[in-house]
């Protein structure tokens, strides 16, 4: 009998700002969502997919983060589970199973959890910067550039600063 449990993680990077209407060129109005919007989006994902995955014996978990680096509670719980397993594995590897549950184990797990959380935060920062960078360089260069000639980052930076 196969006792393997499958977990599907739906990852989503969302924007913290309110807006994106057709008014004012789609620019945002400066207002930002609070933490609740991540929870609400996770709830929307759950209601949309959770039952369908449960029907085929698969667990579904949304992982919602924002471009500002906020992490939804469900994703944090998942990171905590990973940290717990990593710490268990480490203690088993060094042959100190009897110390599992001790204060040293708890502190080690907390350190691992913080490391994982910081890693995700840094990756979100990198992903957001990549998002901006690739969007700029995947679009056609500004019209005053010579057609057919690619614009370098240095040129773009220099001309952008001259405005």
């Amino acid at each position: 009998m196969d006792l393997t449990t499958y977990l599907v993680i739906d990852f989503w990077i969302c924007c913290d700002h309110i807006g994106n209407s057709t008014v004012n060129n789609g620019h945002l109005n400066g207002k930002m969502h609070t933490n609740d919007h991540l929870h609400a989006r996770a709830g929307a994902k759950n209601s949309k997919y959770k039952e369908d995955y449960a029907a085929v014996g698969t667990v579904f978990a949304p992982a919602i983060v924002s471009v500002a680096g906020q992490i939804c509670p469900e994703f944090l719980r998942l990171l905590w589970v990973l940290a717990d397993n990593q710490t268990h594995n480490y203690y088993a590897l060094i042959g100190a199973e009897e110390e599992i549950g001790s204060e040293a184990f708890t502190r080690s797990r907390a350190r691992t959890f913080n490391f994982n959380k910081t890693t995700i935060g840094k990756v979100i920062a990198y992903a957001t910067a990549t998002r901006l960078h690739l969007c700029m360089h995947s679009t056609a260069p500004p019209s005053r550039r010579q057609p057919g000639r690619p614009i370098s980052s240095a040129e773009c930076l220099m001309h952008g600063a001259s405005y």
């Binding site: 993680i9 990852f11 989503w12 990077i13 924007c15 700002h17 807006g19 994106n20 057709t22 060129n25 789609g26 620019h27 945002l28 994902k45 992982a63 983060v65 471009v67 990973l82 397993n85 990593q86 594995n89 994982n116 890693t119 995700i120 840094k122 990756v123 979100i124 920062a125 990198y126 992903a127 957001t128 910067a129 990549t130 998002r131 901006l132 960078h133 690739l134 969007c135 700029m136 995947s138 679009t139 056609a140 260069p141 500004p142 019209s143 005053r144 980052s153 773009c156 930076l157 001309h159 952008g160 600063a161 405005y163």
Partner: protein, 103 residues
Amino acid sequence: MADMSAQRSVTRFNLDLWISFFCRSMGTPILMLQAHAEARTMCSCKNFSLDPQSNHVLACKKHIGATRGHNHVMDVLAQLARNTGYSVRVNHKVSTTAAASNN
């Protein structure tokens, strides 16, 4: 922040990414986007032009940057789970996306 420094060759941000990240974090106009904003360059979604504060770029999902950024985070998360001992399969291409239902 130390992890992003130039001394860490694996995890450092290159100059362009660092400028984008720093300007975005400070809330200042992104220099490289200003030229596009002045020229009214349209986003890949063909609905809006780019703005120097990158508001639209961060909200829009129909450009290559959104996909690449998303995939990068997924890859790191998958590696994190692999390091824990789980077997992981990453699906970069899905038949239906939230982007379609989010507009």
